[in-house]
Amino acid sequence: MNGMLEFRTQGYNGYAVKYSPFFDSRIAVAASANYGLVGNGRLYILGLTANGIQAEKWYDTQDSLYDTAWSEAHENQIAVACGDGSVKLFDVSVPEFPVMSWQEHNREVYAVSWNLVTKDTFASSSWDGTIKVWSPNRPASILTLPTHSCTYSTAFSPHSPSVLSSVTSDSHLRIFDLRTPASASNHLVHLIPIHGPGSTGGISSVGGNRQNFPPAEVLTHDWNKYRDTVIATGGVDTIARTFDIRNPRGGPTTLLEGHQYAIRKLAWSPHLSDVLLTASYDMSCRVWTDGSTTAHPGIIGGAKQLGQMNRHTEFATGVDWCLFGAEGWCASTAWDERLLVWDVRAIMGQG
């Protein structure tokens, strides 16, 4: 495949990759030594140049890094999720050390997600069963939301400043609305079982998403960038699902089956409302459509895999879409110590 760019994160196994929301040539990779089992972490700040991908900067951390999120408000700032329970904020203009470090989580932090609307807060989620909301300017967290389960992923809605979601080991998708009173429910407004059967009586269910699945850990999820009630989830049972939270009891809208092992990361396209990119422990990255743009109104159909990228040689752990330029460019990282930058249009129809 032509046009694929590569960068070796020598000695560090990639866990997450994120394009800068400010610069089309800047990518961050969160990586960990020893596959994140023990040892250090390293945050790479990479530049896409005429001479390939160059490391502009990197930051070493005491413990593994599992996720990263660029600040939406400050072009040089970036948050990381650390294995020692800390959340750190680096400033690219400041060498070596983080400008902020918060030590509140009791266990590994797995995800960080910036607020895309107000841009002044971000959330982190941890193995300790909590989500915390932070402001870069404050020494302590603003808010703690309990999930009582290992929370692999949290994300702010791209459409609302006060709605955030999480997926957990207990096979549930949670939606929190911070505008609701902080009652016994801790802002929780929806608790959606991932493993439930498909839409009740839906025509699409004839094809078999009427099945019940055993509960399975959910590792990743993402909000659709165009349809503000649609969320995709992926996890241990290898199936990517889409949910419409307008109908929280309706079960998944679509099931995307194809990965052989767990899905570690997924991301909706910033350009196309129906296109999803996944990275899996089967060492492949796949591109899907959920069929929402081809189907008749009211009927979900046509959900299918569009292509498959097989260049990674270890578990694929991170994917992200480029926000700028042509609509197909994305980056992926894996435990093979490589970052790949590629165009999904080049793999359409493969796999």
Partner: protein, 337 residues
């Protein structure tokens, strides 16, 4: 409508959404009153058949607070309807709307209510009719009351016959339940009861007309639909139960929650126990045992897992070292400083 869902939302926009929904519904009700034989949108449009499943999907939705209720609170029996139901007069969806305008409850629940009238007529043997009939029975004597009771009576029998008690109970426990909550909260709401009564009457007439032809279809669908719905209900109840537990039961735990249970105090022991690491590695290798692809055969991570399993490599402090003590086993690279 679709445009409303794009782009960042704000409170004003939300309010606008709600108010637009409001108008639609009012018009629905008014138009159905003008043509009594039609009832609630009972004349199928060209896409009616396609949209029915979506209606049901909406119907399967629920109010969020439902999830936080103690499961024991859902009593299956209809006869247990509390006397204060009579004060309801106004229907569920109306109270829902009232609350929607005030709070930030998302629009879908509102839809659910408005769809109920249609889809339950067709497939669910008039669940709301029963609710309504109950309310009517408890109402103070009005001129229309006997007539309504008469028209609803067969509905009752029909509603209960084809289904087993089991499948009826969980499904219908919900609306009833919801009634109780709402009425306690919304007791002071004021509505045009007569207008609602008329609307319901029209709906019931349309229901009676369509009933015979629906009967065959329903009988076929009913078992399957109810079973699926029952499964979903059970699933959601479980979720709610789990949510309510302050001390989650061990058997509910999956994956990572199982491995590192902060409550059993064994985590530190696990981390330092080479046998635990070896066991985990062995499980992982076992799970990919059948994968003979080149990539998996050549995977350095899986090779490291094999070394863990065979105790050729162990974790010491912050490093992975060969068990023989002479450094890292070949085939596995350690991070350079």
């Amino acid at each position: 409508m679709a445009d409303n869902f794009c782009g960042p939302s704000n409170a004003l926009q939300n309010f606008q959404k709600h108010s637009s929904v409001d108008r639609t519904l009012q018009q629905d009700r008014l138009s159905s009153r003008q043509s009594p034989s039609q009832g609630f949108r009972s004349s199928p449009g060209p896409n009616a058949g396609l949209l029915d499943p979506e209606f049901e999907a909406f119907q399967a939705g629920q109010l969020p607070q439902q999830q936080f209720e103690p499961p024991g609170f859902q009593q299956p029996g209809f006869s247990h309807a509390p006397p204060n139901l009579s004060q309801a007069g106004p229907s569920n969806w109306a109270t829902d709307f009232q609350r929607l305008s005030i709070s930030n409850t998302p629009p879908p629940q509102f839809h659910q209510q408005s769809f109920n009238s249609q889809s339950q007529q067709r497939h669910d043997t008039g669940g709301w009719h029963q609710d309504f009939a109950r309310q009517q029975q408890n109402l103070p004597a009005q001129s229309s009351t006997p007539q309504l009771q008469h028209s609803f009576q067969p509905q009752h029998q029909y509603g209960f016959n084809p289904m087993s008690t089991m499948s009826v109970a969980p499904h219908f426990a919900e609306p009833l339940h919801r009634n109780q909550i709402e009425q306690s909260q919304q007791a002071s709401e004021i509505f045009d009861e007569e207008a609602f009564a008329r609307a319901f009457e029209e709906a019931s007439k349309a229901e009676m007309q369509g009933r015979e032809e629906m009967k065959e279809n329903i009988a076929q669908d009913m078992g399957q639909q109810q079973n699926a719905r029952l499964e979903q209900e059970i699933l959601l109840d479980k979720s709610a139960e789990r949510l309510l537990e302050t001390d989650p039961v061990i058997e509910h735990r999956l994956g990572a929650d199982l491995i590192h249970d902060p409550q059993n105090g064994q985590e530190t022991q696990n981390q330092n126990d080479p046998d635990a690491l070896a066991r985990t590695a062995a499980q992982l290798l076992d799970s990919v045992r059948n994968n003979t692809s080149e990539k998996f055969q050549n995977s350095q991570f899986l090779e490291l897992m094999r070394q863990f399993r065979d105790k050729e490599a162990v974790v010491e402090g912050d490093k992975i070292v060969g068990a023989s003590g002479d450094g890292i086993h070949e085939g596995f690279k350690v991070a350079e400083p």
